[in-house]
């Protein structure tokens, strides 16, 4: 059994309440931080821990914190990015729903480190009920003195609020999130300036993912050095993986970074293998944006080494033969899955979620969806594959925010590894969806 630091208590009844959470060692990091540590010491511990942003980009958290500008007389903010919307990702929802105090504890400890007197948890609007759970936990924390004025009798006072979004994937991009938090359209800002200098209402702001903030708790409790011992190389600690698709046991798993992908898919501790005795065809390993890989490349790198669940190993081989850990949204597809159709659902998604600010993404995402629709209608030509490739290359890297890349990469990867499927449809002028057993599932369950 791997070590768990974030959701090890998820099975405990009523762990969502302060009483039970506290009885299981909750809020120890706040006590330790406020009573025995200087704010900068916590930042140092986070740096030492090697923790990397768990939202998808994998940027070192300690470094992000150290960029925070600290001008006199200007408030600083910590904003938690709980706008989890990357297809295939549902770990933050699980964490907030099961153990909301783990996030709140992380918010308090992190805010103390950053010198933020106010923090906001921006939760995607669709997770309204999760926001209710977190709000209830915040109310408990206020009542018990973990939030509010002079926490634990120290000089540190802190207010934490929840804000719900209105339904927009793009608000997961940190500057779009800040715009949305300011009551505006979720249009990503043009950078620089970065939020660390001018974020919420123009004030220095750190935006971190739910899991990142929750991970600060064990880091403070056990020390950055201990935390860094878990994992492999620059991929330290544990990571929540949202597993879905054609696997026997979909769900959220906390893994030690460094287990093999094969182990993750096939062992009973995690996904438990592919459903209905089918063979694995492909995996999207880190949420819809990252390149899809066929079985042989997801289990082993191009060099023939076992692929590990780490930032580096998954990226081994670049985009030619590798992918990314991303947000940890792990979607497995069996042998009957049409890669083209799956790609269509991604393309439709990005078209739907483009904010419309910059032209390559606004126009290009819709164009790609329309061409993929042609494949599903059986009206596509072989030249459409080349066209798709060209369009994605003209979106990638040309946009204001990473949504352009997120929309382009899956298209590029599907063509790179499964071009024959596109060509076959184009040649036969016919699309046959053979992923049929799901239908039986709907009736049987």
């Amino acid at each position: 059994m791997g070590r768990k630091l974030l959701i090890h208590n998820d099975h405990v009844p009523n762990i969502h309440t302060l009483e039970v959470y506290r009885a299981h060692g909750g809020y120890a990091s706040v006590e330790k931080a406020l009573k025995t540590m200087q704010p900068d010491q916590i930042t140092d511990e986070v740096k030492t821990s090697g923790l990397r942003g768990r939202g998808g980009a994998g940027f070192p958290t300690g470094m992000k914190w150290s960029f925070l500008a600290k001008p006199e007389g200007v408030p600083r903010y910590l904003v938690c990015n709980a706008d989890e919307s990357e297809p295939g990702t549902f770990k933050d929802r699980y964490l907030m729903e099961k153990i909301p105090h783990a996030l709140i504890e992380g918010m308090i400890t992190s805010s103390y480190a950053l010198g933020a007197k106010t923090s906001y948890i921006y939760i995607r609007g669709e997770y309204f009920y999760v926001a209710r759970i977190v709000e209830a936990a915040i109310a408990e924390a206020y009542a018990a003195g973990w939030l509010g004025k002079n926490i634990l009798g120290t000089d540190f006072s802190h207010d934490c609020y929840v804000q719900v979004g209105g339904g927009a994937y793009i608000c997961g991009e940190e500057t779009a999130l800040l715009e949305s938090l300011e009551g505006k359209r979720g249009n990503p800002r043009i950078k620089p300036p970065f939020p660390a200098v001018a974020g919420l209402w123009g004030c220095p702001t750190v935006v971190n993912n739910v899991e990142t903030i929750a991970a600060v708790v064990p880091i403070v409790n056990m020390g950055g050095e201990e935390y860094a011992k878990i994992g492999v190389g620059k991929s330290t600690g544990t990571k929540l993986i949202s597993a879905s698709g054609h696997i026997n046991k979909p769900g959220v798993y906390e893994i030690e970074l460094g287990i093999t992908v094969e182990d993750f898919i096939y062992s009973d501790e995690y996904c438990g293998g592919i459903r209905n005795g089918k063979k694995l065809k492909a995996v999207v390993a880190g949420g819809s944006s990252v390149p899809i890989l066929p079985t042989e490349l997801i289990l082993k790198t191009a060099k023939g080494e076992p692929r590990l669940m780490t930032y580096e190993s998954l990226a081994d081989g670049g985009f030619q033969t590798g992918t990314m850990l991303g947000s940890g949204g792990f979607i497995a597809m069996d042998e009957d899955t049409s890669i083209v159709k799956n790609l269509f659902t991604f393309a439709r998604f990005y078209h739907h979620e483009s904010c419309g600010q910059c032209s390559p993404c606004r126009e290009g995402t819709g164009w790609m969806e329309k061409i993929l629709q042609k494949f599903l209608n059986g009206t596509a030509n072989e030249s459409d594959v080349e066209l798709l490739w060209d369009i994605q290359s003209k979106i990638e890297g040309k946009t204001i925010c990473p949504l352009g890349e997120a929309a382009a990469w899956p298209v590029a990867a599907a063509i790179r590894h499964f071009k024959h499927e596109f060509l076959e449809i184009a040649k036969n002028k016919k699309f046959v969806d053979i992923s049929h057993y799901d239908r039986l599932n709907l009736v049987r369950a």
Partner: protein, 193 residues
């Protein structure tokens, strides 16, 4: 987005004058506003729109949005811009229960298309339409973060996951018998996992 309206909408002054939050809703709105610095209350716009949508019949009329603008002391166009950007705000009247079926990757892999077809057949409407009795509207949604429990649909605050045809039948029946408006802000958010 979800319910796009084009062209210039009519604005009814009399209807606008009659648009006022109940005391309870106003209290909620004031609490939300108190979360932000006094000069930044525009920030409360998204959550306040959710309250308004629940309060005024499940959609945001131009009059409702104008009213929200007056509370937050911003220009009406700022509210129109925001409300039309996000998918959760309905810009036209909807059924009391808006069924939003997720259709992205993992849900598709697990039969979301068949769930949509099934509901279409059961309610005798197509995606984007509302039943004649005004009870149900059917929408498709993009990834709702329920990939491990696919297929799923959202109605108001509730997530209905691991759907089967039988489960769909049950929830349609339950909602119809209950007959009330379902909002994202509902407190009975029991997740029917």
């Amino acid at each position: 987005m979800g319910s796009q309206v084009h062209g210039a909408q009519k604005f009814d002054e009399a209807k606008r004058a009659a648009t006022v939050f109940s005391e309870e809703a106003m209290k909620t709105v004031q609490t939300i506003i108190s979360h932000y610095p006094p000069e930044k209350i525009k920030s409360a716009l998204l959550p306040v729109l959710h309250v308004a949508q629940a309060e005024f019949g499940g959609w945001l009329s131009p009059e409702t949005m104008d009213y929200v603008a007056s509370i937050l002391k911003i220009k009406p166009v700022e509210v129109f811009e925001v409300a039309s950007f996000y998918t959760m705000y309905n810009l036209k009247p909807m059924g009391k229960c808006v069924l939003e079926v997720c259709q992205t990757s993992s849900c598709w892999l697990n039969g979301a298309e068949d769930i949509v077809k099934y509901i279409e057949k059961r309610l005798n409407i197509k995606v984007g339409e509302t039943t004649k009795d005004g009870m149900f509207s059917l929408k498709v949604a993009e990834c709702l973060g329920s990939c491990g429990t696919a297929p799923m649909l959202q109605c108001g605050a509730s997530y209905h996951e691991n759907l089967t045809y039988e489960k769909v039948d049950n929830l349609l029946e339950t909602y119809r018998a209950d007959g009330r408006l379902r909002s994202y802000t509902d407190m009975d958010y029991k997740n029917t996992l």
